[in-house]
């Protein structure tokens, strides 16, 4: 089947004198999650992973993907004639080199520039003749429809700021660089600016749209039938007409070159490349959003805490990874204002948890030993949540307890940071990583990412990382009101995985002759697993922190818990488990 599709596209390529055709994993908006309509790479290759680029030549084809998908891709590409190119492995030809090789006997490189990010397009066009053309649509007969969902207004009691006010701030930034137009294509920015949400992308409650803002007007390019309301000062234009409209603009156009696609880039005459002002504006949560976030985290905490109690009681009853995730989802659904998961739940038992991007396997049954790692989150009207708990299902060995405790120490240390205003995530990352680094253990990812408000669970620019980012923008100063995840972990292949994740919000702390000190407040309200702690590794201060946190979790959640759940939670607080009292 894949072979036939490749044959069909090759016929079209030959007609257009295209010797290599690139199909990346993308929609027109560089979204993290891709709707069915946009899954061209999957359709043409058979590979279902969430990352990868297909390059089709006249006589050969290759799929580039990373370490997360080597096993899956090998399986799925079998018999397709497509070669798997393992990114990061030695001796693997660079993608551009591979393309140049395909072009060595002439012809040009083809792709649909709407799927191509502008930076890549600019880079390639320097060296190679390119032709932008959509060769997938003509052969994809049963292609799914474009995402279609009804949009809704996020009322000001949730959003906390009017569209008018947001546009005023954006226009201020436009004036600073003398921009006549501001083009925004990132869907979460558009949803934030116009206080609208929809369901066009899985897990991200956004509307498929572009927007063009001028000093006195704003144009929203989207399917008008999705909107049963009007937005003050905003004109609706057809979704696709942005491409023609952009070409007609005369004057400076401010746009984020990291998020616009190459087709739009080519249409802009006078580009002022800037990150969207809305990105940093929406990263700083306003008072209303913060007040709501507390509510969302109580709801989410109730669901996850009930889940942990249920799991601990029922682990002997043939529960699978998938059943666990479904039970958690059902508990979230019981919460008023819950909309959908904020990402695909990771429910990974034993060695499966060592894979950072594990997908649930239906057949894995939990046993009365080791850890279940559950990373999940919800979209609520009151905000987006993201929480990970690693739960002891029974017997743990010493190494597991040691690692759980080291991860917890790091998580607590970062949450407890006090720092002068001006610090960035790079300054603080070592607080989370330190206890692991002391033991020559690392996790090969950042410590935390920004979190949206009823928007993307991964939201820039704030976060915690120790490496210098390519773009300084992502090493931004931590502002009051920024929400980030704090999620150190341990991943031992074929053994076990541990991650503990709380969301934390930056707050102003003491101001004195040294300046403005900052601190974090923890939003997430879910107990840690006392059964998994080697408390000989904890300081008195850390034990105090855990006890105080559990007291707060109990106080906030107990009104919504059953008697038996309350008792179980209270035992953690008043030290009935005994060990806490002994240490204190």
């Amino acid at each position: 089947m894949i072979k036939e599709r490749l044959e069909a596209i090759r016929k079209l390529m030959a007609k257009e004198n295209i010797s290599a055709y690139i199909i990346p994993t993308s929609d027109y908006h560089q979204s993290e999650y891709i709707s069915e309509y946009f899954k061209c790479r999957e359709y043409m290759s058979g590979f279902t992973g969430s990352a990868g680029t297909l390059v089709i030549g006249i006589n050969e084809a290759a799929l580039y993907t990373d370490g997360r998908y080597f096993i899956q891709a090998t399986k799925e590409l079998l018999g397709s004639g497509i070669t798997l190119m393992k990114i990061g492995e030695e001796g693997v030809m660079d993608l551009l080199e591979y393309v140049e090789n395909l072009l060595k006997d002439g012809g040009c490189l083809g792709f649909d520039a709407k799927y191509i990010d502008a930076n890549f397009g600019i880079e390639v066009a320097k060296k190679i003749d390119i032709k932008s053309i959509d060769l997938v649509s003509p052969i994809w007969n049963d292609r799914p429809a474009m995402p279609y969902s009804k949009a809704f207004v996020l009322e000001e009691k949730y959003a906390g700021e009017s569209v008018t006010s947001k546009l005023v701030k954006i226009r201020e930034e436009m004036r600073k660089v003398d921009a006549k137009y501001h083009l925004v294509t990132s869907l979460c920015d558009i949803a934030w600016i116009y206080n609208i949400r929809a369901n066009d992308v899985l897990h991200n409650p956004v509307l498929l749209a572009y927007t063009l803002i001028t000093d006195d007007a704003a144009y929203l390019y989207t399917d008008e039938s999705k909107l049963d309301f009007t937005i003050d000062g905003v004109t609706i234009r057809p979704y696709e007409s942005i491409y023609e409209d952009v070409k007609k603009l005369s004057g400076k156009v401010m746009a984020d070159i990291d998020s616009i696609n190459y087709e739009l880039y080519l249409g802009i005459d006078d580009l002022e490349a800037r990150h969207n002002p809305s990105t940093i504006l929406k990263a700083v949560k306003n008072e209303t959003e913060i007040k709501n976030l507390y509510k969302a985290h109580i709801k989410d905490g109730v669901a996850v805490t009930k889940f942990i109690y249920w799991l601990k009681k029922n682990v002997k009853s043939d529960i699978t990874e998938k059943m666990a995730a479904e039970h958690l989802e059902n508990l979230r659904k019981e919460q008023k204002g819950y909309i959908e998961p904020s990402f695909e739940t990771i429910s990974a038992y034993g060695a499966n948890a060592a894979l950072m991007h594990y997908s649930i396997k239906d057949e894995v049954v939990l046993k009365n030993e080791g850890f279940l790692l559950v990373d999940s989150g919800g979209q609520y009207y009151e905000g987006t949540t993201d929480v990970t708990r690693t739960i002891a299902l029974g017997v743990l060995n010493e190494r597991m307890k040691e690692c759980y405790t080291l991860v917890l120490k790091g998580m607590l240390s970062l949450s407890d940071a006090k720092f002068l205003y001006g610090c960035t995530g790079r300054n603080l990352d070592i607080l989370a990583r330190g206890p692991l680094w002391q033991n020559a253990i690392d996790y090969k990812c950042g410590t935390g990412h920004g979190v949206g408000y009823l928007l993307n669970v991964h939201e820039g620019p704030n976060g915690f990382r120790y490496k210098k980012p390519k773009d300084e923008y992502y090493d931004c100063v931590i502002e009051e009101g920024m929400v980030s995840s704090n999620e150190p972990g341990v991943y031992f292949e074929d053994e076990f995985g541990i991650r503990i994740e709380n969301e934390i919000i930056a707050k102003k702390h003491i101001k004195n002759e040294y300046g403005q000190f900052m601190a974090f407040e923890t939003l997430t309200l879910v107990p840690f697993d006392l059964d998994a702690i080697d408390y000989s590794l904890l300081s008195k201060k850390e034990i105090d922190m855990i006890n105080k946190y559990h007291k707060r979790v109990y106080d906030e959640l107990s009104p919504f818990l059953l008697e038996e759940e309350k008792e179980w939670l209270l035992a953690m607080v008043d030290g009935e488990q005994g060990k806490w009292m002994n240490v204190l």
Copy 2:
């Protein structure tokens, strides 16, 4: 007297149509310490501080200096007619603005471009007509001679690498940017490249020189009579002739725009602005240098440890801050291979220690209470040292003990850091600052600086800071062999000051699937003050670290101590003081 000098220079200014004349604190090499010959600003203003810029107008004059010198400058400028401009205070006119004001009725700005750093010159020349001319020499009749000292070869048993080998590495860097010439004007770089030392600058054992390196030749511009030896492959040229020679160069000249003076900048046709490759090369100490550094720190440790013992025994004997510093200097002089202090010793009692850049006052007598802060270092053939100890002279209040302990905790935490290769000082700074930040205390400076090898005690680019530097170069990756100071502190105005400083050297630690872990080894060997510690604030791990460190100090130093000194030191190690055993 100052008035007469100003009158004299104003006559010369009038003749040259100069309405404002700038005299900065500098020599031709942007050195940290200025020789007598170069103290033009002091001669023309009467102000003796180590930082400040004098601007002379036809009818007025102003001295710009920073907070360290407001009191001193007010006193010294009395009756000179020069206005003190307090940098950083509100309402103080910016220096360039002041200059523009002086020029508003015509005329140009004058300065001797050899004293002006290139970046400043470039900036000013964009807006203002300038004339480079030396107006100080003609009126400074009794001007001291240019610094004159005999240079000596730093033998390979100390330097660890030949000049030839160093030139090979530098030329490699030149080729990378297609530079035909490399101009170096920073004196420590020149001393390092040619394995020569001299005594032309106080505390910095360097030779006044410039150098020009080509692919097959090297020219050292200096007073030939200072050298009683030749250097393989190096031609000596007269010191001042660099200015003429530079103008004749045709081809790309690689030079560090942050260290060359404006006169040289103007002479270069085709500048490739790069930091001197020698700067990073010399920051990474070689095996021989490291072996020697251990020796230097034993010697230095013996002197400082003897000093602390003496001070503790004799504090009731009318010792002044100055006498203490002199005694320490005498103890260093007893060490073989000691050359001179690596900077002016700070010996600050009580509230004086709250001033970070305090100069010893002769009349301050130490009492049987509070702290004496002593920050000092030595130049040895085996390397440069820099160590601070804050010594309890008797009764301390609780706040003092708490702060001493917090500073010590931070110092120990940074010294104990384990981190993946790739980290910079910005990643680690919070380890030292953390315990103070937790208590809303900060110190308004970096945590540590790089240290030279028988060279400048402040040496870039490595160091520990939390703020983003203007130039990323100073946020460099910590390489094995880099030596830095680690010196957190507390400075409470009118109360007390505490600083504890060890030098630490970066080493490779464990290498595994996560990458290359790095760690520090402590070079400094001087006990902390157990009398000043509030041990209830220490963790078991920290107490272990202190005990292990004191054991090492005892083992390394005891062969060189008197019986009574050894006993005193041993008491810290085996816990005879009692309190340590209680905690353990």
